[in-house]
Symmetry: C2
């Protein structure tokens, strides 16, 4: 039974003008034993966390929000001055990985890693520089999603809300392989006895969770922080907004004070194709409607929200 | 000719109570072909930039500032909640790597990488979790140090000067494998047509360079930012301070406004066992004394500053 599928990407994943992938595309992806150590220690992913990634759930063979994930991968690559991925080639490679999967687990996690490549400042890397390294895996044996209500703490991200435009080298809004701070936030959560965190700016505006977006419900309105503050454009959050619009709820992107977030009727985190309810933030308790949550996740997983999610995003000028 | 030596570390590098390494210590380090891909894509270094590192020059077989590098590695591991490295075991492993080197290049670069290990949230990693992964290499064929004068720009790091104590999850002061922002700063330097950058806080205090410390000379005094602001405790900077003390100059750690840094008589960056003069910062031009620089580097490389550098550091309470 093939429960963990590992693929090593080739240079054609960045070919600028592909038309349609064919069976002869040997250079898109090579499926290897998942125990195969296919990364050089001279690769910039290892040396510098220098790359970008995406992750989503593949629900019964269907990679959730795939186009929005690939669009975000492209945006991260742009913010990182890396070559642009060819979406058609990535889709073909991802489908090849999914085709190899053969396990009863219906919701394995797909991870797509794109490193800048070998480090040209090393003796090994300087002769191999210029092509990004790609690894992708579909994993039905790792920690999978759980929709049990979670508790949150709030943590400062240290940056002011206006830093993103002024200091693009801080890479706010790029989903990079440099996640040591995100990991440290999760350790701080364990110390505080909660499940996860939501971050805020030095001047008190809500950002995101270490590996999720945050959505607040107030009556019939859903609000999420405008990604232009320097956070990721949530893929599952957009699926949730698509569900909300289909249900006749209001949806809104805004510059949301963390104090106002705490006053929500309900809170949710969204990631990897799932909406997860929040039962507490900084000790304040929130209403959880398990039926509502199950309904949203079903809408996302069945693909009902997919098309609408592609066109959802903040509109108009950014409220600085 | 063995110009690039790669070693894969074993679990005994973290053994808590080693006494003295012996020839039978097969579990300290395994020397492998440097082209060998010895890293799993399920390792947290690849997935999350989740680990710590050090780098220094090995000058004619002598690893510069080794004890201070290992102390800083320990401090980074502590800030990252990772197991403490056993210094005696690391020294033995590093000496084994150095012993394999056989190239006329007198100043290869030594890099020590310690990852948190395999990702327990993956199906491959969950059965292998708990031991850090270590790779170290000595590289005489990569980009080596150059003491030609360099030009600098200043870049905001986005954080206020008091954030480190309040938000330890930001990992300020830890030398982690998550260096995407440091790399982006170097790309910004290339866009601005300068060689390197010095960073400062949101409230205008000098920090450090993306992979160096900064030292300012005013008359007979050398000043560097106090590392307790949330920057690395510079190893080569301490060697340079040891040289200065031996020469009768004043040395001082302080909370140094970036405006005051610009008013220095001379500026230097220090890293990897080298002091490099700065010829310009933000367009302001500085005096460069190549003889002085050569003298400092000679003092460091010959080991004359080594013992004194071990006891140099900021004294007294931190000036908040």
């Amino acid at each position: 039974m093939d429960s963990i599928i590992l693929g090593v990407g080739g240079k054609d994943l960045f070919a600028p003008e592909r038309t349609s992938p064919t069976d002869s595309d040997k250079n898109l992806i090579r499926i290897v034993d998942p125990h195969y150590r296919c990364v050089s220690p001279f690769d910039l992913s290892v040396l510098r966390g220098d790359g970008v990634f995406e992750a989503t759930t593949v629900w019964h063979g269907y990679p959730i929000s795939l186009e929005n994930h690939l669009k975000r991968l492209s945006n991260s690559a742009r913010l990182m001055d890396m070559p642009q991925p060819n979406h058609q080639a990535f889709v073909a490679a991802i489908n090849e990985v999914i085709a190899q999967y053969d396990d009863p687990e219906p919701a394995p996690l797909l991870r797509i890693l794109v490193s800048r490549g070998m480090d040209p400042d090393t003796g090994i890397g300087k002769t191999n520089y210029g092509t990004p390294s790609v690894w992708m895996f579909l994993d039905g044996r790792g920690t999978l999603h759980d929709t049990a209500p979670i508790t949150l703490t709030s943590l400062s991200r240290g940056y002011a809300s206006d830093v993103t435009a002024r200091a693009p080298w801080l890479l706010n809004g790029a989903k990079t392989l440099s996640y040591a701070v995100n990991q440290a936030m999760h350790r701080e959560c364990r110390r505080r006895g909660v499940n996860d965190a939501v971050t805020y700016t030095a001047d008190g505006f809500t950002l995101e969770c270490p590996n999720s977006s945050i959505v607040a419900q107030y009556g019939d309105s859903l609000i999420t922080p405008d990604p232009r503050i320097g956070i990721l454009n949530g893929t599952s959050q957009r699926e949730m907004f698509a569900w909300a619009r289909q249900e006749g709820l209001d949806i809104k992107y805004s510059k949301l004070p963390i104090d106002q977030l705490r006053e929500a009727d309900r809170l949710f985190i969204t990631h990897g194709g799932w909406v997860i309810p929040v039962s507490a933030l900084d000790g304040r308790v929130y209403d959880v409607d398990e039926t509502q949550v199950a309904g949203i996740n079903d809408a996302i997983h069945s693909g009902r929200t997919h098309d609408d999610a592609l066109s959802i995003g903040p509109l108009g000028a950014y409220e600085e």
